[in-house]
Symmetry: C2
Subunit: 132 residues, 2 copies
């Protein structure tokens, strides 16, 4: 599996999993309907606990990014991803504001900040250009 975990990081393991899975979907490395490893096997692969993986899966299921069947296991949402609703827009604005404020204080202009945002978005999407 292509996932990597940093046990020394200050960001929780389940958050790292959530982030990487969303990035995988965004870049189309994970396509709708694609199967994901079982909570037990992924936990074993990464050398972490079953519940840590399950917590990440639960969050993504709750947000509508994953679907769960009884025996097939976990799959990437086949029937259309959730849109940019009010809750997400609020979360997005908070996140951007925090980053933009420090960037501004450190001398980055609005244009630089916006360009950086576009560049990171672009780079992220280009990871899945080989259609996997």
């Amino acid at each position: 599996m292509w996932m990597e975990i940093d046990l020394q990081s200050d960001v929780p393991i389940y958050t790292q999993l959530v982030d990487q899975l969303i990035e995988g979907i965004a870049s189309a490395q994970l396509k709708p309907g694609d199967p994901l490893p079982s909570v037990r096997s992924l936990a074993a692969d990464l050398g972490i606990n079953l519940h840590t993986v399950n917590k990440a899966y639960q969050i993504l299921k709750q947000d509508g990014f994953l679907q769960v069947h009884r025996k097939q296991g976990v799959v990437v949402q086949p029937g259309g991803m959730p849109g940019a609703d009010a809750a997400f827009r609020a979360k997005l604005e908070r996140g951007i504001r925090s980053l933009a404020a420090e960037a501004a204080v450190r001398g980055m202009t609005e244009a630089e900040f916006a360009e950086r945002s576009a560049a990171v978005y672009r780079q992220l999407m280009s990871k899945g250009e080989d259609a996997k």
Copy 2:
């Protein structure tokens, strides 16, 4: 004082303080040399503990956004803010990537995402247009 704290939020109080102070500096509501309330008075104002405020001040001092004198108390860094060094750029990239990935999955285009970033930056800066 213009600070507000949400005790019900999942983001730590000291982080909320750090964010709001950086936003205040970014928007020039707090200008270089401006005095900040003492850890005791601000804690009393917000109904929180002295150490929670002190933790926020320590972080901002460590990053070079604040200066501390013995009796004058805490002031906004008078001698030029730190620049966008490698550490910050890495932190910025991580933060943007996480937000950009979810935005992309939810259907936001690169242009929309970049525009949103610019808009939030702009709105943030406009808060201090009345020169305080």
